[in-house]
Amino acid sequence: MAVPKPSSRPLVVIPAWNEEETIADTVSRARVELAGIADLLVVNDGSNDRTGAICDELDVMSIHLPFNMGVGGALRAGIRFAIEHDYDGVVQVDADGQHPSDHVVQLLADLDKYDVVIGSRFKDGGDYNADFLRRVVMRYLSWSLSRMAKAKLTDTTSGFRAMGPAAMELFAQDLPVEYLGDTVESIVIGAKAGLSFHELATPMKQRAGGQPSQSVIAAAGYAVRAVFILWIAQARVLGGGSSTGALRAKPRVLHVTGAKRTT
């Protein structure tokens, strides 16, 4: 497994919220599998169980958010950490850590050609494994986002993706915390900023005891929310919103003045 050239210093970010049961496993496995490939950062997203303490015990690199922000919030904190510590690539993985390390390597390898590489569960015949309504919405999302991103995207809600320096710079400033904000909305933001996207097939073992489709109402709720989020994201002006415009510039200060490479 050759270390990809452009991402000579990648960071794998694991957002963890109340994962005391799985985090130790995930971390020990990832740190062995990814040794020499990437550094590991656990973002403890304001857990109120022993997640943080376990991270300390494992002596894994970790940051601890003072309150729960959601995946998007944890991820942005991780990206900022990466920028501050001179990493030039970030791989976002799910907290349950079901992503095999060779997939991580594959994603990283494509970062020399693309700004964002998304690991898709559905490309190459993977099944959406959802009820009818959800399937329709997922199709619509991938059709719409593929058009925007000018790349074939089959899994728009994938929590497994790699991003290069340009994408890190963008998402360190603008990564919504809301539901689907770190997935669907971030693709819209990236596409508007002109980032290039690519998708790789990273089939996953089905999660043990994965939730089958819930009630029709829940499915409809999901559909409405997802489509609304997409539309609002599409309507948003990039870097707009006077309310946060002034704030956006701030985090860079730390980057500039911060000590280089504390690791």
């Binding site: 022993r50 002596d59 003072p66 309150f67 922000m69 915390v177």
Partner: protein
């Protein structure tokens, strides 16, 4: 008296003295509360301005209802109270919209602060370890406010740590 019904100011209005007294009192109390909050510093000036203007407007209408009639006929609204309701509802909608915006901004600011705290804490943690590797003065986790760390954890962490040090440690030097 001010509310002489034949006066131009009160033309077309028939308000009982008791009701009028109530209206004026309520308005005055509102204004008094606003001013007191400004003095206390519990209401920032940018919000206070709006409410003082609203209060003065209420007071003006209470003393000179004729204002309503003039605006009403200008806009072609037939019942004065409808004008009042329209203005009041519109004002409340705008105010709550404004507050939602402020809340969004505050949330973003809070988020940035949270990130900064987490990043800085990590830095402090590392610096402390540089000075004294055994130091657990400032556990990296003690921050999580909702997560009071049990006393035993600190001791129990040591064997686990050294055990794990044998494993690959891509994240340290």
């Amino acid at each position: 008296m001010i509310m002489n019904k034949s006066s131009w100011l009160w033309q077309g209005y028939d308000v009982s003295p008791a009701l009028w007294a109530v209206l004026v009192t309520v308005t005055l109390i509102t204004i008094f509360m606003i001013l007191r909050m400004v003095r206390n510093g519990s209401l920032r000036a940018k919000y206070a301005t709006l409410w003082v203007i609203v209060g003065v407007g209420m007071l003006a209408v209470a003393f000179v209802p004729r204002i309503l009639t003039v605006i009403r006929s200008l806009l072609g609204i037939s019942v004065a109270s409808n004008l009042l309701f329209f203005v009041a509802i519109q004002l409340l909608v705008l105010v709550s919209l404004h507050l939602s915006r402020e809340a969004s901004q505050l949330e973003e600011e809070t988020r940035i602060l949270g990130e900064e705290v987490a990043l800085l804490r990590h830095r402090v943690f590392r610096l402390e370890q540089l000075i004294d590797p055994e130091s657990r003065l400032l556990s990296d986790t003690s921050l999580s406010q909702s997560n009071p760390k049990p006393e035993g954890t600190i001791e129990s962490s040591k064997p686990a740590k050294s055990l794990d040090a044998a494993a690959a440690k891509p994240d340290s030097e």
